[in-house]
């Protein structure tokens, strides 16, 4: 925020606080505070010390002014008076338990939905890395190219950046998370760990609960630091929290590591939303996989976090990083030219869990805000109706000398009490809702760590929402009631004086509720349509009757020839199993956002435009991969045993890559330079969805495993029957032909793709629930208005009936009044929805933001609901006995 705005804000806070100060002391209070603020601003400006920090402190002081004013009021007797109001309000509400219960539950719905979604947003976006120090000065760094901003860093680039002095940057840490196998007495256990730079813990500001964490000294000599740090949860889970853990060892691949420390509880690692078990220095990478990644400047695989220098802003640090990026581009033009570096706040990272959650959470946040607005409109209608009934009581108060302010205060006390009670109820719901988020997440091989639920921030948020709702709800009807003609109601039996305006206000509130409900329903309809459409999205591969698991050969097979032989033995043995139609190994599973590797490529005969991005994702695959995934090869041949390590390098590209680099001709026979070697294109594979359902067509290439060896691969099986039925047989076979080779993360392909759908499903489910709630509330509100109107018009209806109106005429009269309001609401709601749904069109895979089906279906649904709401009062009106009705005064 700009300084001048902060200064203005401070004075505005004082101006508002004056309202709270008791009138006797108000003038002195205001003069004192304004003068003190003025002199402080003057002194700061003269000293040249006026900046955002001192400006914020000024606003903090001004907040103290409000406190001071409140204190004066309490001391001056305003407090006891307000307490008196509260007691009075509590008695009044207790005397009408039905009204109170409906009001509290309705408000709790609105406030609770907001608290729950806020707690999710807080845990996933605002504080994605619990346990770190000063989260505000920690930001994420990504490599950029012309069209991409989510590129990881290569290790050599990271080291140059780490060792550079960059203004605004205190330190830069890097890590890469993934699955690892820990040797146990009975085999190998899967854990999630990260190789991390030695300065990671220092950068995050995370110390050790026991022992110590890494320092840069633990990350100097490649292969020279066999040490590991555990997270608190892994220590508890895997070691039962034994106190003598430091100094014991564990075996990863074949390397023995010494446990040197445990991080504090709550901290789950440097990767948002992922709960890790352990950390290893990057220098030890070579014991886990071929260590060429430590020296290959073109191989981007590390995530990077930047701790800003004290007081530095992100733009300052960004300017410094731009300089470093230019230096790197000049020094290593082959891989770094046209590459930049960009900082992102943690919640806006362009890749990883936060990137996927941000749009969904934004939609949900908007939805619950709309729901709260609707709840408030509904409550306002209820309170207006109640205020009509209380006009005589209020009029008596005024005639006995109560000021308008006192009447308003009484009503505000009542609504605040309602809202705070509702807020407390909402807090209970929020405590329980932390698990609700997990209920939406399908079983995953990745350990999800989201610490949602009630915490101080969520509590503050929901208190603020409750108080604001209470104040707003009390002020509006309060001001109206206190302004209305207060003498007329004293005359017994007088006609509803001033009720026309109130009636219009209530009708306006109904129209607003119907409109807001329709906006929510249309949004829900669009997401439901998207779910249906997404089921038909061309994934490129078939998930039916597929099984996938991870096999990890361990470092004993860092020697490629041995490992490749093992892969061949395993696939051959699994292919013999009854019910198995196809088997293959492959590095990568489509629709996986983790472990995506990319490489800068050159294509023979293709001159990139200046600045054109030439990195491509790739995966290492064994023969039969395309068959096992039912991912069609469009042209050419699959990789085979022929494509051995010493044979000429080959590559298979996808259709998007083929069209881009070999437009108008076949890609077969073309040559691509990957790393240092030229590979010949031998096949073209159908496009697939590689990371997410909504991604655009992405260039992708496949290299034979013999020429790009990995010690850990996924194994894919296509079965003729239920894939889960053969899991046991697969494990037995593996134990027989490759003893000691563990099989992890076994799941059906259908289970795997369920993950890609879960955010959509969550959004659709929650929106449907919120939309239905909204429609119900709007209908109840409409029912209330119509029923009251029927009661007020009883005599008129009696006259009409005695003049010959039929029951049908009367019913029509009532229904048409209700439908008129509903129709206006629907028209406004349609217009509103047309504007709002565009905001989340990117989340609707292939469904238009103005999808006629969704708009029409939800409109019909809401119209039917409102019709039902009018039916009961209409029926009651039609059954009125005209003689009785005429007697009603």
């Amino acid at each position: 925020m700009r300084v001048s705005w902060l200064r203005r804000l401070a004075f505005a806070v004082v101006a508002l606080g004056a309202w709270l100060a008791p009138s006797a002391a108000r003038d002195q209070w205001r003069r004192q505070w304004r003068a003190d603020l003025w002199h402080r601003c003057d002194a700061l400006e003269r000293a040249g010390l006026m900046n955002t920090r001192t400006g914020r402190a000024l606003v903090g002081r001004a907040a103290g002014a409000v406190w001071h004013a409140g204190w004066l009021r309490l001391r001056g007797g305003g407090g006891p008076m307000f307490l008196h109001d509260l007691r009075h309000a509590a008695r009044g509400l207790a005397g009408r338990p039905g009204f109170t219960a409906i009001a509290v539950v309705t408000l709790a719905l609105g406030i609770g939905a907001n608290s729950v979604i806020f707690s999710w947003i807080d845990a996933t976006l605002l504080h994605p890395l619990p346990g770190i120090a000063d989260a505000r000065s920690l930001v994420a760094l990504y490599g950029t190219e012309r069209a991409r901003n989510n590129i990881s860093l290569s290790y050599p680039n990271y080291v140059d950046l780490r060792d550079a002095t960059v203004p605004g940057v205190r330190s830069v840490a890097a890590f890469s998370a993934g699955a690892l196998g820990v040797r146990t007495d009975d085999g190998t256990e899967r854990v999630w760990g990260a190789v991390v730079s030695g300065n990671l813990f220092e950068t995050l500001g995370v110390g050790a609960a026991i022992g110590r964490v890494f320092t840069p000294e633990d990350d100097r000599v490649p292969g020279g630091h066999p040490v590991v740090v555990l997270t608190h949860s892994a220590w508890q889970r895997r070691y039962g929290g034994r106190p003598d853990i430091v100094g014991t060892t564990l075996v990863l691949k074949d390397q023995t590591f010494t446990i040197i420390g445990v991080t504090p509880p709550g901290f789950h690692g440097p990767q948002a939303l992922i709960g890790l078990d352990l950390f290893i220095p990057v220098a030890m990478l070579g014991t886990l996989m071929p260590a060429d990644r430590l020296t290959a400047r073109g191989s981007a695989w590390m995530s990077t976090l930047v701790r800003l220098a004290p007081g530095a802003s992100m733009p300052e640090a960004q300017a410094g990083l731009d300089v470093v990026a230019r230096q790197l581009a000049t020094a290593y033009p082959d891989v770094n030219s046209n590459r930049g570096m960009r900082l992102f706040p943690l919640w806006r990272q362009p890749s990883g869990g936060t990137a996927q959650l941000l749009p969904v959470m934004a939609v949900l946040g908007g939805v619950v805000a709309v729901l709260l607005a609707l709840v408030c409109a509904n409550m306002a209608g209820l309170l207006l109706a109640r205020a009509s009934g209380r006009r005589r009581e209020l009029a008596v108060r005024v005639s006995l000398g109560a000021s308008r302010w006192q009447v308003v205060r009484l009503l505000v006390a009542e609504t605040t009490l309602l809202a705070v009670t509702a807020g407390a109820l909402a807090a209970v719901v929020t405590v329980w809702s932390g698990n609700l988020l997990y209920a939406f997440i399908p079983p995953l091989p990745i350990p999800i760590a989201i610490d949602a639920g009630l915490n101080l921030r969520v509590l503050l948020f929901s208190s603020a929402v409750s108080l604001a709702a209470g104040l707003l709800l009390g002020l509006l009807p309060g001001l109206q009631a206190s302004r209305a003609d207060l003498v007329a109601p004293l005359k017994d039996g007088a006609a509803m004086g001033g009720s026309a305006r109130r009636g219009r206000l209530r009708q306006g509130l109904i129209v607003a509720q119907v409109a807001l409900a329709l906006v929510l329903l249309v949004s829900a309809g669009l997401f439901l349509r998207t779910l249906v459409v997404a089921d038909r999205v061309d994934l490129g591969f078939s998930a039916r009757q597929g099984l996938v698991g991870v096999i990890d050969l361990g470092s004993a097979t860092l020697e490629p020839a041995r490992g490749l032989a093992t892969y061949r033995t395993v696939t051959a043995a699994l292919a013999e199993l009854p019910g198995v139609e196809a088997v293959a190994v492959g590095q990568r599973l489509p629709l996986t956002s983790l472990d995506s590797s990319d490489r800068t490529v050159q294509v023979e005969g293709y001159t990139p435009a200046p600045g054109e991005e030439m990195t491509t994702y790739y995966a290492s695959i064994g023969p039969g991969y395309f068959d096992a995934l039912r991912l069609p090869l469009v042209e050419g041949r699959d990789v085979s045993a022929r494509d051995a390590a010493d044979a000429p390098p080959v590559v298979i590209v996808n259709t998007t890559m083929a069209r881009r680099f070999w437009p108008g001709r076949t890609a077969i026979g073309g040559r691509v330079k990957i790393g240092e070697r030229w590979a010949e294109v031998i096949g073209i594979a159908h496009d697939a969805k590689y990371a997410s359902l909504s991604e655009p067509a992405t260039p992708f290439m496949y290299v034979p495993i013999d020429q790009a060896y990995r010690t850990s691969m996924r194994v894919f099986l296509r079965t003729s029957g239920d894939p889960e039925a053969i899991v046991a047989a697969v494990r037995q076979t593996l134990a027989r032909v490759a003893p000691g080779v563990p099989l992890f993360d076994v799941q059906t392909l259908a289970q795997h793709i369920a993950f890609s759908f879960f955010l959509l499903e969550m959004a659709a489910t929650l929106l449907a629930v919120f939309g239905a709630t909204a429609a119900l509330l709007a209908a109840l509100g409409l029912y209330g208005v119509i029923a009251q109107s029927v009661a007020a018009r009883t005599r008129e209806i009696g006259v009409r009936m005695s003049l010959g109106a039929t029951k049908a005429d009367v019913a029509r009269l009532v229904v048409s009044q209700g439908l008129g309001l509903a129709a206006l609401g629907i028209v406004l709601g349609l217009a509103g929805a047309a504007g709002v749904t565009r905001l989340f069109e990117s989340q609707l895979l292939g469904v238009s933001a103005l999808d006629p089906g969704a708009f029409a279906a939800t409109t019909v649904l809401l119209a039917a609901t409102t019709l039902a709401a009018c039916a009961a009062p209409a029926w009651r009106a039609a059954r009125l006995d005209p003689v009785q009705a005429l007697r009603v005064d």
Binding site: R31, Q32, W38, H39, R40, D42, A63, G64, H68, W71
Partner: protein, 112 residues
């Protein structure tokens, strides 16, 4: 009224005014307390008769183109109350930090 009713923060405010910090903001700076506790404390101390507040001369302030400020002064009652309170509040006396390897002033002998 005895100083038994003065909270630690209130004594800090009284002490700051006695030490020559006369305006609300200065007292906030001097005590490190929040404005929300300092201003009520100043009012309360004035009610108790330990402080008296006055407004700067309006004409002088206007001539200098600035708003007049409210400032506080210690009264004789206030001085007595402060003296008594400081004797009661023994928290801030020199302590030995030898155990932490910090060489500070030697602790003075305990007051009687």
């Amino acid at each position: 009224m005895g100083t038994g009713t003065l909270s630690f923060g209130t004594v800090a405010v009284l002490h700051a005014v006695a030490a020559g910090y006369r305006f609300g903001f200065d007292v906030v700076d001097a005590t490190g307390l929040t404005a929300g506790s300092v201003y009520p404390a100043l009012d309360r101390l004035e009610d108790l008769g330990y402080l008296k507040s006055s407004w700067e001369h309006a004409a002088t302030a206007q001539a200098e183109g600035r708003p007049a400020r409210r400032y506080f002064q210690l009264t004789a009652d206030g001085a007595r109350a402060l003296d008594e309170a400081l004797r009661k509040h023994r928290t801030f006396q020199p302590v030995s930090l030898d155990a932490f390897g910090i060489r500070g002033p030697r602790p003075a002998g305990r007051r009687p």
